[in-house]
C-alpha cells in the first residue's frame, strides 16, 4: 500500500498507523503530525494509546501498518537508535538520566567528546565539564558543578538537564513523556519555560500529559486520542481549556467543533 505525505509543512507525519499486539488492536489507523517549531499536546486517557503511538515513533515498537514521514522523507524506525539518528529525543519521566552519574557524563552520554593519543581515544573531561555548563546556561539552566551526581538533583532539575541536552545536540523533535507529573508547581513552570525555549531554538515538541492545565499554557495544538482512534486536532485558538478536558474524559467532540473535524479527515 502506497502512502503519501499529507501535511506539507510537517516535520513528522504519521499516516494510518496501526499497531496490533497479537489480536489486541491498540492503534487503529491514526494520523498524527507535528509541524516545524510547533508544540503539540498529545492527550488522552490512560490506555488510549498515546504512549504506544510515541513508542512506534521512537522505535521501541515496530508498526503493524502505516507510514512515517520525517523531514519530508519516508522512514523506517526500527530501533531507538534509528530515532536518535533522525534527531528525535525523548525525555521520559524516569528514563532520561542516570542518577549515579555526574551531570557532565549524563549530558554527553553516547556522544562523548574525545581526544586521541596514538590509537587510543580518551574522554575530553575539560570540554565535557565546560561545555555542559555553558550549554545548559544557554537554555537558562544554571548548575553549580558539572561533577555533581544527578541523583542529588530535584525532579525538575533533571527534566531541565535532559531538555537542555536535547536542545544542545540540535535535535529536531523533542518528546516529553509526562514531564510534569511528579513536579512541584515552581518546577513545572520552569520545565514549561524550557519547553518554549526549545521551540524558540527551532525544535518541535510533543508534550504528553494528562494534565491539560500544563500543556494548555505552552501548546500550539492538541491531538486527542481515544481508544486507538484520533478524536481530533484542535488549534489553541479554537478550543478552551475546559472543552479539551471534557473531550479527554468523555471521548466526545462538542457540537460546536464537529464541523472542523470532518475537514481534518477524522475517522468516525
Amino acid at each position: 500500500m502506497e502512502y503519501k505525505q499529507k501535511n506539507d509543512n510537517a516535520l513528522v507525519d504519521m499516516i494510518d498507523i496501526h499497531k496490533y499486539f497479537g489480536s489486541v488492536q491498540v492503534l487503529r489507523g491514526i494520523d498524527f503530525h507535528v509541524d516545524r517549531q510547533e508544540i503539540v499536546g498529545l492527550l488522552g486517557d490512560n490506555g488510549a494509546g498515546k504512549s504506544t503511538l510515541i513508542k512506534v515513533l521512537t522505535g521501541y515498537h515496530s508498526l503493524t501498518r502505516g507510514q512515517i514521514f520525517f523531514d519530508d522523507e519516508a522512514v523506517r524506525i526500527n530501533s531507538p537508535h534509528d530515532a536518535r539518528e533522525l534527531g528525535i529525543e525523548t525525555v521520559h519521566q524516569d528514563l532520561a538520566l542516570v542518577p549515579l552519574m555526574s551531570i557532565a557524563r549524563n549530558f554527553w552520554l553516547g556522544q562523548e567528546p574525545t581526544y586521541e593519543v596514538g590509537p587510543f581515544r580518551f574522554l575530553d573531561k575539560k570540554k565535557m565539564a565546560s561545555e555542559s555548563i555553558r550549554a545548559l546556561a544557554d537554555v537558562g539552566i544554571h548548575i553549580r558543578d558539572s561533577e555533581e551526581t544527578v541523583g542529588n538533583m530535584s525532579g525538575g532539575e533533571r527534566q531541565s538537564v535532559a531538555i537542555g541536552r536535547a536542545v544542545y545536540f540540535g535535535k529536531k523533535l523533542l518528546i516529553l513523556d509526562e514531564p510534569t507529573s511528579a513536579l512541584s508547581v515552581g518546577e513545572t513552570q520552569k520545565v514549561l519555560d524550557y519547553t518554549i525555549a526549545a521551540k524558540e531554538k527551532g525544535m518541535s515538541v510533543i508534550f504528553i500529559t494528562h494534565n491539560i492545565r500544563h500543556v494548555y499554557e505552552v501548546a500550539d495544538r492538541f491531538t486527542i486520542i481515544e481508544r486507538g482512534h484520533k478524536l481530533g486536532d484542535f488549534h489553541k485558538s479554537e478550543v478552551s481549556e475546559n472543552e479539551v478536558a471534557d473531550m479527554i474524559v468523555t471521548g466526545q467532540i462538542p457540537e460546536r467543533l464537529r464541523l472542523f473535524d470532518e475537514e481534518e479527515g477524522e475517522v468516525a
Partner: protein, 706 residues
C-alpha cells in the same frame, strides 16, 4: 574567645595565648622527634624492616624524619600567624591540631591493639585467668579485671534488654499502637542521656579490662608473635592526643561563632575529609584498608616484613585480576557466578594443550597453549553473554547454570579425581632464552613512559607554582606559604621522576655492558607467574634489591598493570561511560543510543578473558590441574568487589576499589595467621568485614547526598 583575641581584645586573649603556646610546643616536639630519629635514639627502624636499602639506610626512618621536620615547620608557621593575628592561621592551626590528634591516636592504638589482642589470646590459652592474675600479677590488675568484667556485663545486659524489649514492641502490634505512651516510648527510643550513660559505663569497663590486660601482658613477654606491650608509649600518645584535642576544640568553636558566610565556606578538617571520601566509590575500602594495614602493622613485627607483604600480594594477585573484570560486570548491572568454573576449564585446557595436545595444533609450547586457553575462556564468556542477552534471564540464574555446566567439563575430562601434572608428561620445565635486548627495550619503554608523564605533568605543576609565587602578595596571609608548598610539590615529583630515570639508566648500562650482555635463561612459566628472582640475576630484579626469601611473583606486576589500564578505560573512555550508564539506568542508556546488549556481552567476555589470564598464572605457579580447581573463587572475587565499593545493583564502583578489596582480603589471610589467630576464623572475619565495608560505603554515600 579566639575571635576576641584576633580583634585584639585584652580580656579574652587567654585562650589565644594558650593556643599559641600549644603551637610552639608542638613545633618543638616535631623538631625533637626528627632529631631523635635522625640520631637513632628513637628506635623506629628496628620495626620497619621493609624498604631497607642496605645497612644503615632505612626508607621509613627517612620519611618519618622528614615528616616530623615538615610538621615542626608548619607549626612554626602557624605560630607566626597567630602572633601576627592573621585570621587565616585559624584554618591552618585547625588542620595542624587535627594531624596532631591523628598522631596521638595512632600512638595510643599501637599500645592498645597489641595489648588487647595478646590478652585475648592469653585468655584462650590460660584456663583460670583470675587465679593467674592473683598469683603472678598482683592485686591491682585483679581489681581492674573484676571491675571491668562487672561493668561490661551490666552494660551489655542493659543494652540487650532494651534491644529485646524494643524488638518485642516492634513485633507485637498492640504494643506498637501504644508506642507514644511514656513507658513504651522510653524503650523504643531511649533518651540520649541514657544511651550516653550506658556507653560511659561500657567504656570504663573496657578500660578496666585493658588495664588488667596490660598488666598480664607485661608479665608474659615474648610468648606470642604479637608485639610486647610498651606501656611507656601511652604517655607519648596522650601528650599528642589531649593537647591536640583541646586545641582542635578551641579553634573549632571560633569558626562556629564567626559569621554565617564564613561558616558556610570554611570546612573543618573532619567535614573536608568526609566530603572527599564521599566522592570516591570505595570510601569503605579505603578506610578499611588503612585500618587493617595499621592494625596488623601495630600488632606484630612480622607483618611489615618483605616476605609477608610479598606472600599476601602473591596470594591475591590472581583473584585480584579476576576481580577487575567482575567489577566491570557488576557496574554494568550483571553478575557472574561461573568464573571459578571458567578458571578450572581454562587451566585444564592450558595444561592439556601442553601435555595431550590441542585439537589442530597437537602438543604445543607454553605460549601458544596459553593463547589457545584464553581463546577457550573467551568462548565460555561469550556463551554467558549470549545466553543472557538472548534469553533475558537474570544473570544470576544464567551463570549459576553455566557454573555447574562448565564444572562438568573438568570433572569429566580428568577422571577419578586425578591431577593433571606437567611433570608427568615432560621431564623438564620449558625454558626460553631472553636476550638482553628485551631488557633494554623494556627499560627504553619505561624511559619513554617517564618522559611522557614528565611532559604532561611537570609544565602544569611548574606554571601553577610560578603563578602562585607571582601573586603571593595578593593571595592573603598564606600566599607565600602556599607558593612554597606548590614549589615543594613540584620539586618532589621532579625528584621522583629523576630517581626512576637514574634507576632505568642503571638497568640500561648493566644490560648494555659486556658483563650483563648474556642471554638469560628463564622458565616459560616464570614469565607468567614466577618468582621474580628467577628472572635476572640472583636477588636482583631490574636492579631492585629483593630479599632472597620473599615470594614476589610476577603476577603481582601484571595485576598492577591491569589495574592501571582498566582503571583508565573505566574512568576516561566512552566505553567506561557506557558501562556506568548501562548499570545505572538501562533505559536511559538505551535512549541515549548506548548499545546496552553489546556492553553487557563485552563485559562478560572481559571477565572471562581476565579469568583465563588468571588461570594461566595459577597453572604456571603450580603446573598441575585438579578437577575442582577454582571452586568457590566466584564468591571470594565478588566479596573483593563488594568490599571495594561496587553496588550489586549496578552503576557504581571502581577498579581501584577492587584492588583495595583484594588487598584487604590478602592482608587478613596472611595477617590473621601471623597474629596467631586461628585461620578457621578467616571466613568469619571476612564476613564481618564485607558487611562493615558496605555499611561504611552506604553511610559515606548518604553523607554526600545530604
Amino acid at each position: 574567645m579566639m575571635q576576641a583575641y584576633f580583634e585584639g581584645k585584652r580580656e579574652a586573649s587567654n585562650i589565644g595565648a594558650l593556643v599559641t603556646i600549644l603551637s610552639f610546643g608542638f613545633a618543638i616536639l616535631g623538631l625533637v622527634i626528627a632529631y631523635g630519629i635522625y640520631f637513632g635514639w628513637i628506635p623506629l627502624g628496628e620495626r620497619a624492616n621493609i624498604l631497607r636499602w642496605s645497612q644503615g639506610i632505612n626508607t621509613v626512618e627517612i620519611i618519618v624524619t622528614a615528616a616530623s621536620l615538615i610538621y615542626a615547620v608548619c607549626f612554626a608557621r602557624t605560630l607566626y600567624g597567630l602572633a601576627r593575628r592573621e585570621q587565616s592561621s585559624l584554618r591552618w592551626s585547625q588542620w595542624m591540631f587535627f594531624v596532631t590528634i591523628m598522631i596521638g591516636a595512632a600512638i595510643l592504638l599501637s599500645v592498645a591493639i597489641p595489648v588487647g589482642l595478646k590478652f585475648s589470646l592469653l585468655l584462650g590459652q590460660v584456663s583460670d585467668l583470675r587465679l593467674l592474675i592473683s598469683e603472678d600479677v598482683g592485686g591491682l590488675a585483679a581489681i581492674a579485671l573484676s571491675i571491668g568484667e562487672a561493668l561490661i556485663s551490666i552494660s551489655l545486659f542493659i543494652i540487650a534488654l532494651v534491644a529485646l524489649l524494643a524488638l518485642l514492641v516492634f513485633l507485637i502490634p498492640p504494643l506498637e499502637a501504644l508506642r507514644d505512651r511514656p513507658g513504651i516510648s522510653m524503650i523504643v527510643s531511649p533518651p540520649r542521656k541514657f544511651i550516653q550513660a550506658i556507653l560511659i559505663v561500657l567504656g570504663i569497663g573496657v578500660i578496666g579490662f585493658l588495664v588488667a590486660g596490660a598488666a598480664v601482658v607485661a608479665e608474659y613477654p615474648g610468648q606470642t608473635t604479637i608485639r610486647d606491650a610498651e606501656n611507656h608509649r601511652l604517655l607519648a600518645g596522650l601528650l599528642f592526643f589531649l593537647p591536640g584535642f583541646f586545641g582542635y576544640r578551641v579553634v573549632r568553636q571560633v569558626e562556629e561563632q564567626s559569621d554565617e558566610l564564613r561558616r558556610a565556606v570554611a570546612l573543618t578538617p573532619g567535614k573536608f575529609i568526609r566530603a572527599e571520601l564521599a566522592k570516591s566509590p570505595s570510601a569503605g575500602a579505603i578506610i578499611g584498608f588503612i585500618a587493617i594495614f595499621m592494625g596488623f602493622t601495630m600488632a606484630t613485627d612480622l607483618f611489615l616484613e618483605p616476605s609477608s607483604v610479598a606472600s599476601f600480594l602473591s596470594n591475591v594477585a590472581t583473584k585480584g585480576v579476576i576481580a577487575i573484570g567482575v567489577t566491570y560486570l557488576m557496574i554494568s548491572g550483571e553478575f557472574d557466578l561461573s568464573v571459578g568454573s571458567i578458571l578450572g576449564v581454562t587451566a585444564l585446557s592450558f595444561m592439556n594443550f601442553m601435555t595431550h595436545g590441542a585439537p589442530i595444533f597437537g602438543v604445543v609450547g607454553p605460549i601458544p597453549a596459553a593463547l589457545l586457553a584464553i581463546l577457550v575462556a573467551f568462548v565460555l564468556g561469550a556463551i554467558n553473554g549470549v545466553l543472557l542477552i538472548s534469553t533475558r534471564i537474570p544473570s544470576f540464574i544464567v551463570t549459576l547454570g553455566t557454573m555447574l555446566a562448565f564444572r562438568a567439563i573438568t570433572l569429566v575430562a580428568i577422571a577419578g579425581g586425578r591431577i593433571l601434572r606437567y611433570s608427568d608428561h615432560h621431564t623438564e620445565l620449558p625454558v626460553i632464552g631472553i636476550s638482553n635486548i628485551v631488557f633494554l627495550a623494556l627499560a627504553v619503554i619505561g624511559l619513554a613512559l617517564v618522559a611522557f608523564t614528565a611532559y604532561r605533568v611537570l609544565p602544569v605543576l611548574f606554571r601553577g607554582a610560578a603563578q602562585a609565587w607571582s601573586i603571593r602578595a595578593n593571595n592573603g596571609d598564606f600566599g607565600t606559604s602556599s607558593a612554597i608548598v606548590r614549589a615543594f610539590v613540584f620539586a618532589l615529583i621532579l625528584l621522583i621522576l629523576l630517581a626512576i630515570v637514574v634507576w632505568l639508566a642503571a638497568v640500561l648500562s648493566y644490560h648494555g655492558s659486556a658483563s650483563g650482555g648474556e642471554i638469560v635463561e628463564v622458565g616459560y612459566f616464570d614469565l607468567f607467574n614466577g618468582r621474580v628472582l628467577a628472572i635476572g640475576e640472583e636477588g636482583d630484579f631490574f636492579h631492585m634489591q629483593i630479599p632472597r626469601n620473599a615470594n614476589v611473583r610476577l603476577a603481582i606486576v601484571w595485576w598492577f598493570i591491569f589495574v592501571a589500564i582498566f582503571h583508565v578505560v573505566l574512568t576516561s573512555t566512552s566505553f567506561g561511560n557506557s558501562i556506568f550508564a548501562t548499570g545505572g539506568n538501562e533505559g536511559a542508556a538505551r535512549a541515549q543510543g548506548v548499545n546496552v546488549d553489546r556492553v553487557k556481552l563485552q563485559n562478560f567476555v572481559i571477565v572471562a578473558l581476565l579469568t583465563g589470564i588468571a588461570a594461566i598464572y595459577e597453572t604456571a605457579r603450580n603446573p598441575g590441574v585438579d578437577p575442582l580447581k577454582g571452586t568457590g573463587w566466584e564468591l571470594e572475587v565478588i566479596a573483593m568487589t563488594v568490599i571495594g565499593g561496587a553496588l550489586l545493583t549496578g552503576g557504581y564502583g571502581s577498579v581501584v576499589g577492587s584492588l583495595l578489596g583484594a588487598l584487604i582480603f590478602g592482608m587478613l589471610q596472611t595477617g590473621l595467621v601471623l597474629v596467631g589467630i586461628e585461620s578457621r576464623l578467616f571466613s568469619g572475619t571476612i564476613g564481618v568485614i564485607i558487611i562493615a565495608a558496605v555499611v561504611l560505603n552506604t553511610l559515606v554515600r548518604g553523607a554526600r547526598q545530604n
